[in-house]
């Protein structure tokens, strides 16, 4: 199966002109969308449907810088990328110490049994959450900040593996932070919506 960069006729690089990508997406949609292939027999219709689905998935994977990095990692590792895996990510080693603190705050809140979340326990939980949210945003900025470096390595033929590994680490940390932020919000009874936190950007 063609990779998503190929679908858009792009090199496997992270710097993508968003407007050009959108224009191309609309063009490809006009070519492949089932709306314009009504008269075909069932087999051809199924092909059109597959093609159209491929264009849509490719656009979704490439349109945002962070999603692009995630897709690239999967592609480089030769595994299928799938959105929204809900298995809880493991805590990256670097975060273990901090997470102990968060865990403590959660225990404390549990002991207060939700009655006193307006008080000290609540204040602590909120403070932890704010800190983690900042960290969460910072991880994204850091990743996007090094995408140009990747493209340079591609152009110059340098060793990309260390950077790929670093991207992976950062994204794993980020995914973990998202889960913990969700847990904290749950404990506070403030989860903004009841949705699965599969949004990664």
């Amino acid at each position: 199966m063609s990779d998503y960069f190929t679908v858009f006729g792009l090199p496997r690089k992270l710097g993508v002109d968003g407007e050009a990508l959108q224009r191309r997406f609309y063009e490809l949609s006009r070519q492949h969308h089932p709306d314009f292939h009504q008269g075909l027999d069932a087999e051809r219709q199924a092909e059109v449907l597959d093609q159209s689905a491929l264009v849509n998935r490719a656009y979704r994977a490439l349109r945002e810088p962070l999603a692009r990095v995630e897709y690239l990692i999967a592609l480089e590792e030769g595994r299928e990328v799938r959105e929204g895996a809900t298995a809880k990510p493991k805590a990256p080693r670097e975060l273990l110490e901090e997470m102990m603190e968060v865990q403590e705050a959660l225990e404390e809140a549990k002991a207060a049994q939700g009655e006193n979340l307006g008080g000290d326990a609540g204040t602590r939980l909120r403070e932890e959450r704010r800190r983690l949210e900042e960290r969460y945003a910072a991880e994204a900025t850091a990743v996007v900040g090094r995408t140009a470096e990747w493209d340079r390595l591609v152009d110059e033929g340098g060793d990309r593996r260390p950077l790929l590994e670093w991207f992976k680490q950062r994204l794993a940390t980020r995914a973990y932070l998202r889960t913990v932020i969700g847990d904290l919000s749950d404990a506070l009874g403030e989860r903004e919506d009841q949705h699965v936190s599969y949004r990664r950007h």
Binding site: Y26, S29, R30, H33, P34, D35, F36, Q38, G39, L49, D50, S52, A53, N56, R57, Y59, R60, E80, R82, E83, G84, A85, T86, A87, D193, Q194, H195, V196, Y198, R199
Partner: protein
Amino acid sequence: MSRIVGIDLGTTNSLVAHVEGGIPRVIPDAEGRALLPSIVAWTGNGVVVGEAARRQLARNSARTVYSVKRLMGRGYDDVKDELARLPFEVTPQAEVVSIRIGDRAVTPPEVSAHVLRALKQRAETYFGEPVEQAVITVPAYFNDAQRQATKDAGRIAGLEVLRIVNEPTAAALAYGLQKLSQGIIAVYDLGGGTFDISILRVKDGVFEVLATNGNTHLGGDDFDRAMVDWLLADVKSRHHVDLSGDAEALQEIRLGAEAAKCRLSFDERTVLTIPFEGFTYHRDISRTEVEALVESLVAATLGPCRQALADASLRADQVDEVVLVGGSTRMPLVQRRVEELFGRTPHSRMNPDEVVALGAAVQAQILAGGITDMLLLDVTPLSLGIETLGGIVSVLIARNTTIPTLAKEHFTTSVDGQTTVDMHVLQGERELAKDNRSLARFDLAGIEPMPGGMPKIEVTFLIDANGILQVQARELRTGKAASIEVKPTYGLTEDQVEQMVEDSFTYAEADVEARLLIETQTEADTVLNHVERALRQARDIVGAEERAAIEAARAALRAARAGTDRDQIRELTTALNQVTAPLADRLMESAIKDAVTSKRADRLLENS
């Protein structure tokens, strides 16, 4: 390609439209009405739809079905809370609820099929040719089962449903055709029973939905209910009568409340008068009072709006235009709340009752190849996932993913020689399977016996352009397609739909037969009445012989009228008309003579 119509199958009203000379137009009925009330009544004389059914609401409440859209694709648990409020009897089946009409059980798709059939006939009368293909709209937030139920309804009505389109996006298409919008558009659609918000980017003829959200159980019906409760309490306190158990009275109050609500969108005050047995209820109602009753319901639409904006990664102030769709957006309160949220005045430059049907017609024209510069890219409103160990949902396709889209997942066996694998597919945003909407259970069968863990079965979950799921499976080692048995959790099986399609032909014929008979009998009654009156008026100018002939023809028609032989009734009606024709002429002459000196002719002509 044959003609494709666009249909808005609404909770309260339905419409059919088509594109004519590049402009979408609603197809009116013979009386020029655009809206067909989505009401179906089973009367002693067959099934009636629309206005005729509305008149049955109070006097035939157990057999008159309205707002059936709220039951489409739903199980008993979903709707049991509101069943107490419906005057018709709904059977407590877990999978597909059905409505008991006498000794028949009718499912919601069958009820909707009656509405669709009426619209189909309306279009056929208008074009003078058969109409067999349609685009039908559904609320954007409808799940798979609700969409499938709508498609089933089309099939039962004898329509090939070429596309299911989301209502807010259809509205955007209708607006777009008139080149009114470019940029980021929010469509706020509050109808009779459902609420949707869709955020679109409109650019170069492409209508790209960025995010959608909503509530398929929130609309004008709920406003009416809040008013009914309030009016019931008022009747009780002022007249000391509890009408809550009186089906007929409840319908009268509901209809009165609905009408008052509509008037209050334009007037500050209105008066509600309902005559009941023994007393007349009279109530002065202000807009402020009703707004207080529905305030929390209107507020419930704002959360989904914020979520849709967040999912589209947009702030409210980045929205260029806010469009109001659906009859309930006529309420000034709704307009105020929408304006506050988006910080911009919303508009409904196109008729909010008609714009969705017009958009459906535009989409129909696109499918027919008549419009090539517009393209709608819609999204799936809910995340799709499968249940994994521990009852956790593993998301395969996230909500707001552009459709068509697909996801592949690999499965294997756990035991040696295992030949089937079952999966549970769900739709929704919650982490636990039990909190989501169960779509179906699939049995992957026909796996070759192998040691556990050896088979590699690839399952493809494809959401098509209708937002409906298709599943395919393949064993990768053998390349063989695995068979899938789908057990929809809520919905009709293929066989059931097939049966209903067949039934509909049988019943449709029976229904047509019944209606024609009624028409013929009514015609006979009219002639019999006229003749009777004429004989009374013309006592002096009828000879014995003539009178005998007329009496004989009368008696023959009366006898035939009691039977069901339509041809015989018609023949004898014609015969009676002929034998009385000379008398009618003489009466007319004498009436005209009289008219010179008196006004009696008016009365006589009026009566004839």
